[in-house]
Amino acid sequence: MFNNNKNKQTAGDDKQTGTDRNGQVEQLLVPDLEQNMERLQRFLGDGADIVCRMLTHRSFPNQRYTLFYMDGIVDGASIGTMLLGLLEDANKVTEDTEGLYTHLIDRSIAVGKIRSATAIEEVGYAMLEGSSVILVEGSLKAILIDTTGGESRSVEEPTSQTVVRGPKEGFTENLRTNTALVRRIIKSPKLRFDYKVIGRETRTNIAVVYLQGIAQDDVVQEVHRRIDQIEIDAILESGYIEEFIQDKAFTPFPLIQNTERPDAACAGILEGQVVIMVSGTPFVLIAPVTFVKFFQSSEDYYQRYDISTFLRFIRVASFFISMLLPSLYIAITTFHQEMLPTPLLISLAAQREGVPFPALVEAFLMEITFEILREAGVRMPRIIGPAISIVGALVLGQAAVQAGLVSAAMVIVVSFTAIASFVIPAVNMGSAARLIRFALMILGGSFGLFGIMSGLMVLLAHMSGLRSFGKPYLLPFSPLIVSNLKDTFIRVPWWAMRKRPIGMSSNRVPNQHRIGGGKRPDPDQEGA
């Protein structure tokens, strides 16, 4: 599975045996078939799912051979075709010890991808990945046949990043499917898939995908270097990799983007970003990434640029609302009452009559309640879903106000904050705002607007120091790259985005241009 072209095959082999070895002596195959079979069975732990079929060939009646595979992770149809080919093989052959082995490879096995192996370990690991193995009596080499398959989820609509207009395909848990989805979109020979295996026990396959010549070479090398440094027993999701390779560990902000959408991944690849796919999860990683990327949805590029720009402003506004609104409310109502218009002040003061807690405690109470509700909504079984929404509306609503626990204005503030936090397209950026919100609430409740401003200053300084694979996080605002501003919080029409983002993609001049000049629609000129 992890060897799809000849060049990479040798590299992959080296890697595989290299990790296996660890000082252990390799068990090479011996001419005795029974012994080989026994050693292989022992290596794989005599599992009930190991299928072993002893066969003889009609042209070589004295030479037995065995077919080994792991049931469930192989493609049943391939096995069937292969068996049929082996059993019905009527080709005439020379009688030679080496003959059966070459005969099987050359004429009998009706499967595309075949290679040979000489060590028990190599054979065993290949089987664990879904290959079938043929051991031939008297031969020192085993035939590994790629029959990877088995049950996997089909390509479905992504659930975490939905769009109104745009492709409805989403990545799946199957790495091969995922690479195919990308290949189907970018049909370029420059598209590179570099495969790796990480995880001592899980041996998870990983693909590093980029466009040669568009992605910056040093970024690609850096991605490789960081991934190669990972040493872990298991990789179950791309989040494992993300935490190992991000530039700074202690930051609330995500430094690597993730997506479930092949079109979003491809858009990243085409802008010079590197995509890291991990087998077993539909979420692929995109790096390097900047702050503004988290406010961009792939749909922005499919609908008109004016509405896209408007929506991006809405998202940025929502980000600030979800980060700042409760703290601003606390600060203004407890420190800066003079900032409120009189009727609003009276109305807020009237609501606060009889509320037992200070505004800060009140806000914390409601925010924590909302976070609990939200977590409950995510974790609980689907079937009891309606229960939580009914009870939730009571806890975070009119009932709480009537019970005299909180003021109605606070319920509105918390609810609006909650809604605003869902507008941000990237869930991980929304989580960053959530965490920062609590810190700012404490600052706002202790020092008023002064505290909030200080907090924001610290945040800004922190963000300016962040890097994602060496790229400044606040690019293109700091350092300012004017030509990159066309696709940030605004989006200009496609015909005006002539160049790829400077600094993110390769700076080789001919590669920078996406579109030729003068592509602005001009019917008059065409007519003339």
């Binding site: 202690f250 009452q337 009189t342 009276i346 200070p358 810190a439 404490i442 409740g445 008023g448």
Partner: protein, 411 residues
């Protein structure tokens, strides 16, 4: 790595310290505030008597939200404190109010005529020295006690303090007879070259008080708060009143007329007497000092334009000479208003027109001499008024209704 963990720990500790220290500093919850909507200043001969109109938020918003439930509660409460100084009096409020007085939303400060005649430097000092009360608060003078004004309810506006501010703003915008004088402007006027300023009067028209909610069960309320005359201040002391016509003249001379109404008498061919009413929509006044032969004189150039809004006389407004005549009549009227105000100012010995600043700016050398006794210089300074008025529109009907009916009779 170790240092990052350390700094992260430090941040957590500092943030949690913040939680514990809330309640320090100047944090104050909304339900600990006594929001003041109007302040009154009285003088009992020895002490300052400060009165506060404090809002009761629950009563107000209950009126807004759920209507008709429960017994009606007064939206405001008025109480007074005494002290040797204004701040001392305010301090005494802590011994009778469960909440801290909060002045940032104060709309008006009412001073009684007694205080105004005594002098109110102290009040201005309090406003300019402290950050709490705002200098944009409107100042008003009342002939009685300030406290009684604060006790009055107002029609349409639940909060009387806010209502008083609304009245003065709307008046200044729509009839321009009385100006809205915020505290900072009073301070600027009194420290200016002329050391004179004006304040609008607010008074209670009607004998009874409208200080219970029961009054609002009738269509007519027993008394109303009304704006009246213009109080003239000189050296922080009130020296007299100007009537409304003179007050309009002051507004014209100060260039503060935004919109006002001028009524001129008219006579038509049949000898019918009536009035033409004009709404002045734009007006600008340029007051220019002139020194001729060592004698100071002023020229006021008024350039106004407006709309004819009512006409009683049967006149054909298509004829240019008739409209010309109307325009010159209005100009004449303006001229008289200005001259009347100027004369009154001279008699009272208060240059509330900003004439001193103009003279100071134009003739800085001569000003040194004049400034020693500006009032006597000002008293002998003549004013020449060059008023110009232009009718921009006649309204929708070009002939007066009177004219149309007269014509029918003839036909």
């Amino acid at each position: 790595m170790k240092s990052t963990i350390r700094s992260a720990m430090m941040a957590v500790v500092l943030l949690s310290l913040c939680i514990m220290t809330t309640g320090c500093w100047n944090r104050i919850e909304l339900n600990e505030l006594a929001i003041t909507s109007a302040t009154g200043v009285d003088w009992d001969g020895h002490n300052w008597v400060m009165s506060y109109q404090v809002l009761i938020p629950s009563a107000i918003s209950a009126g807004i939200g759920t209507s008709g439930s429960g017994t009606p509660q007064s939206p405001v409460i008025v109480y007074s404190t005494k002290g040797k100084s204004i701040r001392e009096a305010m301090m005494h409020s802590f011994s009778e109010s469960p909440r801290k007085l909060f002045y940032a939303h104060n709309r008006v400060v009412i001073i009684s005529e007694e205080v105004a005649r005594r002098g109110f430097n102290e009040l201005l000092d309090v406003y300019f020295r402290n950050s709490g009360p705002r200098e944009t608060v409107s100042m008003l003078v009342t002939p009685g006690t300030a406290r009684r004004v604060l006790e009055q309810f107002m029609q349409l506006q639940i909060i009387p303090g806010e209502g008083m501010k609304d009245i003065i703003l709307s008046e200044a915008r729509n009839s321009s007879i009385l100006p809205n004088i915020p505290v900072y402007q009073m301070g600027m006027n009194l420290t200016g070259d002329a050391k004179s300023g004006v304040l609008p009067e607010i008074y209670i028209s009607g004998k009874e008080d409208t200080s219970t909610l029961d009054s609002f069960t009738h269509t007519t309320i027993p008394s109303k708060l009304k704006l009246g005359r213009l109080a003239i201040m000189h050296n922080d002391r009130m020296i007299g009143w100007m009537n409304r016509r003179q007050s309009l003249g002051v507004s014209f001379l100060r260039g503060e007329v935004k919109q006002t109404t001028i009524v001129t008498p008219c006579t038509d061919e049949q000898g019918h007497r009536g009035f033409d009413t004009f709404v002045i929509q734009h007006s600008s006044t340029r007051l220019k000092p002139k020194l001729t032969g060592g004698k100071l004189s002023y020229t006021a150039k008024v350039d106004a334009s407006g709309v004819l809004t009512e006409s009683d006389c049967a006149q054909n407004l298509y004829k240019p000479d008739i409209t010309k005549k109307m325009e010159s009549k209005v100009a004449q009227q303006i001229q008289q208003i200005l001259k009347g105000a100027w004369k009154q100012g001279q008699q009272m010995g208060a240059d509330v027109f900003g004439a001193a600043e103009k003279a100071h700016r134009k003739y800085p050398k001569a000003w040194k001499q004049w400034s020693k006794d500006w009032n006597s210089v000002f008293a002998e300074t003549p004013l020449e008024v060059q008023a110009q008025f232009r009718i921009t529109r006649m309204g929708l009907s070009n002939k007066s209704f009177q004219y149309l009916t007269e014509k029918d009779k003839k036909g």
